[in-house]
């Protein structure tokens, strides 16, 4: 029901003004969370950026992955590194979420939990970077991917929401960024900003020069 999203609904009282006010609040929450994340996680993003810049300089590749909306976010992160447009340096990056033949083959024939781990096992080399996105921090296939990446000496980067879930508990990411929100949507929005700023910092990093 709409009650969970909009508690004021249901009594025949809804107005465009109510809904607009609520939307203004959500936009405000989104911005506040983004700024809080940059303040709280900024130094760690900068440290991660230096590691990534060094990895790229040494010939490393970036692999990104996630489920659902996070699968598209993984694609946009890879696209940003690969073809950043004016003023940016193109860096080797690909998402592991775009190949329907591979994903359906692995999901159908083996197990959905291995769809990223298998690709990383095939493609990953020591010094590459694996970047997993999960709003819950508990997506089994993302966690398996990070595990496989670590086993193969890739740098592991994890983005999660709320408490960080198993991704945080099991310490699967060398660089872990937990967005402090329980809203999937606000988490994704702040993750987008964090990934963009990570890219900005990689582009500026002296380690990548």
């Amino acid at each position: 029901m709409t009650g969970t999203l909009y508690p004021f609904l249901g009594a025949g009282q809804v107005t465009v003004e109510d809904v607009t006010r609520s939307s203004v609040e959500k936009a405000g929450e989104s911005l506040a969370l983004r700024l809080r994340v940059l303040e709280g996680l900024g130094p760690a993003l900068a440290a991660c950026a230096d590691v990534l810049a060094a990895a790229f300089r040494a010939g490393g590749r970036l692999y990104t992955f996630g489920n659902g909306g996070s699968s598209t976010d993984a694609q946009s992160v890879a696209q940003l590194f690969l073809t950043p447009g004016a003023g940016g340096r193109s860096l080797p990056a690909m998402s592991l979420t775009g190949d329907a033949a591979l994903l359906t083959a692995l999901g159908n024939d083996v197990d959905f939990d291995v769809i990223f781990a298998r690709q990383l096992a095939a493609l990953g080399r020591p010094g590459d970077v694996a970047l997993g996105l999960s709003t819950s921090g508990g997506s089994a296939n993302v966690l398996r991917g990070l595990e496989e990446a670590r086993r193969r000496d890739l740098v592991t980067v994890g983005f999660a929401g709320s408490g960080g879930g198993r991704m945080a508990e099991e310490g699967l990411a060398d660089h872990l960024f937990v967005i402090p929100s329980s809203s999937v949507h606000r988490v994704q929005e702040a993750q987008t900003t964090a990934c963009h700023v990570l890219w900005e910092l990689v582009q500026r990093s002296p380690a990548g020069a």
Partner: protein, 317 residues
């Protein structure tokens, strides 16, 4: 350039500052998202579907937006039909190879789309020919058209290039909310009077949802919030029985040219001064605006919200 060597938190402060203005501007634009969601809910009630499209990172956003509707993250929310036209590499590259890249979405949209559908395109850069063509095609078909836009080209915005970013950009908050319903997009920091720099460049769009920044990364971030809020609001309107989707004064079955949020073909019977015309709707006559088209008596025009948006047939057609 000096920023690259500068240690400490200056780049982070600058990154935060670059996001504050557009983020606050989004709150000021909330009313646009609300009215768009209301129209979208009405389309879904008519069994319309959502078709999304964009280039580059916005192709990923098109997929993200579609999956929000088809597989809601909030348990218990109804799944609503949505398709991204940017997902299928065989379709996209096949059309691009045969007809040029600008056709990739318009071709799919013409084949798959129906008049009751909703077309949402991401107009994020200066090379969005494919998105523009699809929005124009959607408009011709009578779909509800929605554009998520960004402001000026990134290259001209200080700070948009991280390699040369310096001090935080000036606030983008100087512009207030634009006139509702006018498809003018992002008349913002550089062009408060609107111009070809409004993000839609003369396209007729039912709902323009602007990110008021020329930084493509920040614009994407604003777009993500826009489509999340849009999804929520569509459900608010779609599900709430007390929210009337049609004006109470008109109990017409949907053919009323004034009330119906659908494009209706009608025949012009009289052209009047001031860009007005009288048309035969099949069940009576109404006065509409023909200011946007060259309409003559006898023409069949497509009317949306009392505005003729296209001439379908000439004299006596």
């Amino acid at each position: 350039m000096a920023m690259g060597q500068q240690a400490g938190t200056a780049p982070l402060d600058e990154a935060a500052a670059r996001r504050a203005g557009p983020g606050r501007a989004l709150a000021a634009d909330a009313g646009r998202i609300v009215t768009c969601a209301l129209d979208m809910a009405e389309r879904f009630h008519r069994k319309g579907r959502l078709l999304t499209f964009g280039d580059g990172a916005a192709a990923a956003d098109a997929g993200h937006l579609a999956v929000e509707f088809t597989h809601p993250v909030i348990v218990g929310k109804r799944a609503l039909p949505a398709i991204s036209l940017a997902n299928d590499a065989a379709a996209v590259s096949g059309i691009a190879a045969a007809s040029g890249y600008d056709s990739v979405f318009a071709t799919q949209l013409r084949l798959l789309g129906r008049p009751e559908d909703i077309a949402v395109g991401f107009l994020t850069g200066d090379r969005c020919g494919s998105v523009r063509a699809a929005l124009a095609a959607a408009r011709d078909l009578g779909m509800l058209t929605v554009a998520l836009t960004a402001s000026t080209p990134a290259a001209s915005i200080p700070g948009a290039n991280p390699l040369t970013a310096g001090t935080p950009t000036a606030s983008i908050l100087t512009a207030g909310p634009l006139t509702a319903g006018v498809p003018s997009g992002g008349a913002e920091e550089t062009a408060p009077g609107g111009s070809d720099d409004d993000g839609v460049g003369g396209l007729e769009i039912d709902h323009v949802l602007p990110a008021r920044t020329g930084d493509p990364r920040v614009a994407r971030e604003i777009h993500v919030t826009i489509y999340h809020v849009l999804w929520e609001l569509v459900h608010v309107f779609y599900e709430d029985p007390v929210f009337s989707l049609t004006p109470a004064a008109c109990h017409d079955d949907g053919g009323c040219v004034t009330c119906a949020d659908t494009a209706v073909p009608v025949r012009v019977t009289e052209v009047r001064d001031g860009g007005l015309a009288v048309v035969d709707t099949g069940s009576g006559t109404e006065e509409i605006s023909v200011a946007l088209v060259e309409a003559r008596v006898g023409d069949v025009v497509l009317v949306h919200a009392k505005e003729a948006i296209a001439v379908l047939g000439g004299d006596g057609a």
